[in-house]
Symmetry: C2
Subunit: 120 residues, 2 copies
DNA sequence: CAGGATCCTTTACGATACTG
DNA sequence: CAGTATCGTAAAGGATCCTG
């Protein structure tokens, strides 16, 4: 009984560590959260629109990050047959499940500012 | 009235972006969450203990990350006058405010696994 | 318009050896 | 014990030019 409990708790802990590693691997980098945040906000954006809205990013980075996000099922990509071709990016339903994380991070970032400001 | 609303929402949006940038700057890297998680779990750990508990990290990285975290008020460092000197690291109260973020990320990491597993 | 190719700079990270 | 110094590699990020 005790043994089972220990094993379970150990497994839970390992699971958490692996889960955090997974998540960070997918979400790491300078731009992921900005892109996702932008897409959650304004569904269906074209490449150029994202390039403008995600402040400071370059075309290469945006392209690469979008591919990553698409590969991980967080963003969908639709090519419209116009000419010249336009492409629409959209957050997936699963991608939307990141909203709570982004909210928490934003909240904490604000709290951090207040804290540093108050204690300096 | 409309104008005020727009300005407010724009300011709020900017604030969020900056907050996320702040937070990610402080929390980015391969090890921050693991170290913080470990310290939240088991208050008062020495350098060597952390080196053992944070799986895979090297002394140089640990040292540098701890300095970062201390500088950002997330971790406190206490030198005990024993010989040879031992040092205790401890999460600060403010550092503990990261717990919700870590929880959300861990939750999401698990959900991600399930999602990918189910859709593949 | 949407991006790939190329080249370059800068960080991140890691192994090893060494010191108070 | 708790680090620092040094060196080296790999990955991230960016500027510019080019193409269907």
């Amino acid at each position: 009984m005790k043994k089972v409990a220990v094993i379970n708790s150990s497994e839970t802990c390992q699971t958490r560590i692996v889960a955090i590693k997974d998540a960070m691997e997918i979400l790491s980098g300078k731009w992921k959260f900005h892109i996702i945040g932008t897409l959650i906000h304004g569904e269906k954006l074209r490449f150029m629109e994202l390039l403008r809205e995600v402040d400071g990013i370059g075309a290469k980075m945006l392209s690469k990050e979008l591919q990553d996000l698409e590969m991980n099922h967080l963003v969908s990509r639709t090519v419209l047959n116009t000419k010249p071709a336009t492409v629409e990016y959209q957050i997936t339903d699963f991608g939307k499940s990141l909203a709570p994380i982004i909210d928490e991070i934003a909240k904490w970032g604000i709290a951090y500012r207040n804290f540093v400001y108050t204690n300096s």
